[in-house]
Amino acid sequence: MLKLGKKDAGLFLFVVIITLLAPFILNPFPESSAFAQFNAGYPDLMQRFVIFGIFAIGFNILFGLTGYLSFGHAAFLGVGSYAAIWMMKLLTMNVIPAIIASVIFAGLFSLVVGYISLRRSGIYFSILTLAFAQMSFAMAYSVLTPITGGETGLQPKVNDPRIFDGALAEGTTPTAGLFGVKMRDSLEWSVGDWLFTFNFGYYFAAIMMLAAFYVSIRIFRSPFGMMLRGVKTNQQRLNYTGLNSKPYTLAAFVISGMYAGLAGGLLVAMDTQVGPERMFWTASGEVVLMAILGGAGTLIGPVLGAGFIKYMENIVSKINDTILHQWFYWLPDGLEDAVVAMIYPFIGKGWHLTLGIMFMAVVIFLPGGLVEGGQRIAGWVRGRFRGKESPTSGKAAGTPAE
């Protein structure tokens, strides 16, 4: 199917189904239950899941395959966003030109940054990419203000030229869409105490993500992908074997930059504004966390990592002490306060702390990320049923070679 191997086709199909059914899967709790705040099936967050999924999938093509750790990928995301918003200002609020421009401009910018940064490897490469990203951030803030809108950023205005669209009435806000359908349009379906939202923007971004995921599988299974893994394991050997590693790493860099650009463009398509903070180094660091947390070098890992981190950021951060007190009201008074006090640092603004601890735990105990965790559980379950442990089977399943 789709020129994928059996296992890959299965994985792809699985991701397609999960993605399409996400509005249900992410909303398991009835609206009136105490758990409703753990529901993630609202458009804004679902869009983020798939968009940052794209960002992480692309990042993984560079980092997971070649081992080159870029610390500046948010710059490409930012360039994609700015390019998209300019298309919306100059051409049309239809997202197609915006998306295309975001990929092209991010691709060109990553070609330049990659060409220079790839002259070095290891930590020096990482520092170079970080420097580029911070430079982009600083320039977007200051000298490039005419293009970037400086600190306030950019958003489409009523009086922008927008040559393909008719003039908008004074006082309306331009909204992004696709041939008349708006990104924020949603269908709501209420079943009993459940409310499911099918948002057009989400499905648009989801299809982009599925396409991006498919391309990533094909890259992993190509001779090109094999060479990239060769770069990661032993670049010297690759060179003595007659292969010029530079074009390979540069191609991987540009591809991952284009993925980042696509993600940046989609962010703008969903929420038509952009500011320089999108390129700040913490945003570059976040995608590194996503890839490592999910499992760098695996196909599905980065998507899991992205989903996991965005879930934490949006859900755990919203839990506050009032909610905690509600949960633990049944405890004796003193004990209730003590329990709440113990959990409190890890929620709300403290979600970073929780994330940090989980990240450390993963790196120390599950170097292969959440994917390795899943494989270990699967291996353990299988072992239970067969009555014997097969410690290597899980590991072999993880090699992207298959």
Binding site: G225, R237, T241
Partner: protein
């Protein structure tokens, strides 16, 4: 005229003269052994052939073309493959992938950026890699991760990675080190056999005299960066200079 001509090569590491006016003339299709005590500069010399090191002075000509100042991948593309002293393999990849990569390099050149080709469609490359692995006796380990193999197997894998490219010049840095006697004999047979059928020129560094005398058409003896003698094996055995510098010490 040799296929590989090395003239007056000098290499200094700080105060150490690792190579001192080294000359070497390797005849096409022959097996040329380089022997000498530890630290003599044997590996350093090979490093100068593959672009790992650049000699301070001197020239290295292969097939009439200078190998100095060009990149390692360009050197390989002219037909030079090397087995290293400590195996240089793709440890995270499977055995078959390790051999497919050089096969791709041979067929497609230094780079071919097509992300939408599929490895599984490359039956020709895979077959070739499988056959080569059969030749070196690793047919039953195709899908093993290379890092899990024994030292001897890694060495044979690296040999397959070179042989699959059907090089004009094969450089072998102690190809049998770490191998059991039986494996060593297999390797000797293999090296003899590929020599006959494909006419590959070989430069072999070896400490094992059994290997050297079974394979070599010519031997250069290197000590402290200097070539003491270059001669056919019969004359090397009894050569007083060689005894003094090398054989006497090793009691062979």
């Amino acid at each position: 005229m040799g296929i590989l001509e090395v003239q007056n090569v000098n290499k200094r590491f700080g105060g150490l003269q690792a190579l001192n006016n080294v000359n070497l003339d390797v005849v096409e299709g022959s097996v040329h052994a380089i022997i000498g005590p530890n630290g003599a500069g044997k590996s350093t010399l090979l490093n100068c052939f593959v672009g790992r090191l650049v000699p301070d002075t001197g020239s290295v000509m292969f097939n009439g073309q200078s190998l100095l100042g060009i990149k390692p991948h360009e050197i390989n593309q002219t037909g030079v493959s090397r087995v290293f002293q400590t195996p240089e393999i793709f440890t995270d990849l499977t055995v078959i992938e390790n051999v497919m990569i050089p096969a791709f390099a041979k067929r497609d050149g230094a780079y071919k950026l097509n992300p939408f080709k599929r490895v599984q469609d490359e039956a020709e490359i895979r077959d070739h890699a499988e056959h080569t692995l059969e030749d070196v006796g690793l047919a039953d380990k195709l899908d093993m991760t290379a890092s899990e193999m024994s030292r001897g197997d890694k060495r044979r894998l690296e040999m397959a990675m070179c042989l699959v490219q059907d090089p004009k010049l094969l450089l072998l840095d102690e190809p049998t080190a770490g191998m059991a006697r039986a494996d060593t004999n297999r390797t000797i047979d293999l090296l003899k056999h590929i020599g006959e059928s494909r006419g590959i020129t070989k430069v072999v560094i070896e400490h094992d005299m059994h290997v050297v005398f079974s394979l070599a058409d010519k031997i250069s003896v290197l000590a402290q960066g200097t070539v003491l003698v270059e001669d056919v094996p019969e004359n090397i055995k009894g050569h007083p200079k060689v005894r003094e510098a090398y054989l006497g010490e090793a009691q062979v």
